[in-house]
């Protein structure tokens, strides 16, 4: 059925920390790797090494520049002046509570699970009409160019409950792989969960709220950085980091230290 459940027992989803994400795209690749070899049809690429490569991905990282709109007051104290900053922005299915992609589906292929709120596509029922992708404001659904069925994030439903995997691997591939720890997986229905706490602490934001989709996934906004932060960072790099490197070169211990000194003596 493509009617939405009134409520779900759990609200599994991601909290994505925009302050921490470094835009390495590891989540994109890890997602593609896991999902091309597991749930449903593979995520195909066409003309992968040619001039016009196109492929389906369930997760994409956009990079935005945010320029503060400065009021007069903020210009007065130079140190506190907010500066423009680069924000890396991973985007995948938000597993919305009012998921418009589900209700438009004519075949019942799209559905939202009552037990955990995950939005899935039963690919055997998908006719590839594309209407669900039109209904999604976030670009979370992509038609696979080869299989011609709709692909979307499954929240790695085949990992998170998978008892054949070691316990630490039972989370979405993107979360497991993120080297910066910017992605957090948990149950938003539980106010004490890691993700609920993060959202409460950091003031989590919903994307395009005016669409009324009530996304489960939340984004933790980046801190506003100021000219003072920039100055501190730069001085740290020259004074701290630079001298540390120089010291390391001078007093390298062990065999390489000895080799270094020996080679120096050769003139």
């Amino acid at each position: 059925m493509t009617t939405l459940p009134a409520t779900t027992e759990k609200k599994l989803g991601l909290a994505i920390d925009l302050d921490t994400c470094v835009g390495c795209h590891a989540c994109v690749i890890s997602c593609k790797e896991w999902n091309t070899s597991n749930y449903g049809a593979p995520l195909s690429d066409t003309d992968a090494y040619g001039a016009d490569p196109v492929g389906s991905f369930l997760n994409r990282v956009h990079t935005f520049e945010v320029t503060p709109d400065l009021g007069e007051a903020e210009k007065q104290v130079i140190g506190e002046t907010p500066i423009a900053q680069v924000v890396h922005f991973p985007k995948s299915c938000l597993h919305c509570e009012d998921a418009p992609c589900v209700t438009v589906c004519p075949t019942g292929a799209s559905y939202k699970r009552t037990e955990d709120g995950i939005v899935l596509v039963n690919e055997d029922d998908c006719i590839g009409c594309g209407l669900c992708a039109w209904a999604c404001p976030y670009g979370a659904r992509e038609m696979d160019p080869v299989e011609q069925v709709m692909k979307k994030c499954t929240l790695c439903v085949d990992r998170i409950y998978n008892e054949n995997l070691p316990e630490e691997d039972r989370e979405p591939a993107c979360v497991r792989t993120c080297p910066a720890g910017a992605r957090h997986f948990g149950d938003f229905a539980d106010p004490d969960s890691n993700v609920s706490q993060l959202v409460a602490e950091r003031g989590g934001i919903s994307l395009m709220e005016e669409q009324g989709t009530r996304p489960v996934n939340q984004y933790l906004p980046p801190r506003q950085k100021t000219l003072a932060d920039l100055a501190a960072k730069n001085s740290g790099f020259q004074g701290g980091c630079g001298t540390a490197l120089a010291a390391e070169a001078k007093d390298a211990p062990g065999f390489f230290g000895w080799l270094d000194r020996a080679l120096d003596k050769m003139g």
Binding site: V86, P106, I127, G130, A133, E142
Partner: protein, 310 residues
């Protein structure tokens, strides 16, 4: 949005086909025998070609039957169910008007003039109602989408219905003696078409969507795309941020505005012969295709905001 030819054909042809069925079902005009044969043939032909065309853009047309299952929640499913119901319900009525009425085509095998079939005209009325419902369902497939503000307004179903009933009325207007009524509908249609463009041009901004709301970063400043997530294109950009189609926007609007109503109306008024209806339909279809091209090509999907596009 990408103006796929199969979808333009679907909405345009099935719209006119069901429009013609609405009038034939209501008995405006009451046709019999060979005249009914050609009129119903044209109506069924346009509707069915339109509906088949809609399956051409499917990734898996062989599973199309599954689309009849979700009528409780999906406008696309409803459209499928109601369209088939309309065609089936109308069929006995059409058969009666073509073959069984006195002097009908069935006379060739002695089957004309069967008595006691008058009640079949109620099937015609029911078929007309279902045909109207089909057009409304078609329009709601688009009008329901909040993600495309230009479509997400009450004017869209009104416009689709008016396109359908005026396109349908065109064909039989000279025969049915309904030229003046048809001309009025065509003029109202032309005005509404302009109204749709004018209102549609303001919809995106009025809906309040921006890169700031899309990213949720509006609180710390104004947002622009620094780097796209991928160097090539993808399904989303091809399907929903298709901008090339807007190139001839002004010229196409002019063509649509003139051909949809003004020229057909002039034709009907000046040429009081039965074939004027068919010529007027030809002209109207050119305008309708231009209008539907723009309907898709001009429509901006909010997902474009994540790519700094509209």
């Amino acid at each position: 949005m990408h103006p796929a030819p199969s979808i333009i054909m679907f909405t345009a042809l099935s719209g006119v086909g069901f429009g013609l069925l609405i009038w034939l079902g209501l008995g405006v005009p009451v046709l019999s025998s060979w005249t009914a044969f050609w009129a119903f043939g044209l109506a069924y032909g346009l509707s069915v070609v339109g509906l088949i065309s809609s399956t051409l853009h499917l990734g898996h047309p062989e599973r199309a039957l599954k689309a009849f299952s979700q009528w409780r929640s999906s406008w696309l499913s409803r459209e499928g169910v109601v369209s088939v119901a309309a065609l089936l319900v109308m069929a006995p009525f059409a058969f009666w008007r073509v073959f069984l009425v006195p002097g009908g085509v069935g006379g060739l095998v002695g089957l004309d003039g069967l008595a006691g079939l008058e009640w079949l005209r109620w099937l015609g009325v029911l078929g007309a109602a279902l045909s109207l419902l089909t057009v409304i369902c078609t329009s709601m497939i688009y009008a329901q989408l909040k993600t495309v503000p230009r479509w997400n307004m009450g004017l869209v179903p009104v416009l689709f219905v008016l396109f359908s009933i005026s396109g349908g009325a065109l064909v039989t207007a000279p025969v049915a003696q309904t030229v003046m009524g048809t001309v009025v509908m065509l003029l109202v249609l032309t005005v509404l078409q302009w109204g749709y463009w004018r209102q549609g041009d303001r919809r995106f901004a009025a809906a309040g969507h921006s890169m700031e709301t899309a990213t949720g970063l509006g609180g710390i400043g104004s947002v622009r795309l620094l780097e796209s997530p991928h160097s090539g294109t993808n399904y989303l950009l091809r399907e929903m941020a298709f901008q090339i189609g807007r190139k001839h926007q002004r010229r196409l609007r002019l063509i649509a505005a003139v051909m949809v109503g003004l020229v057909p109306a002039l034709l009907l008024v000046t040429v009081p012969l039965w074939w004027a209806g068919l010529v007027a339909l030809g002209v109207h279809l050119v305008g309708l295709f231009a209008s539907r091209w723009l309907f898709f090509a001009e429509a901006e999907h909010v997902v474009g905001l994540y790519y700094g596009k509209r």
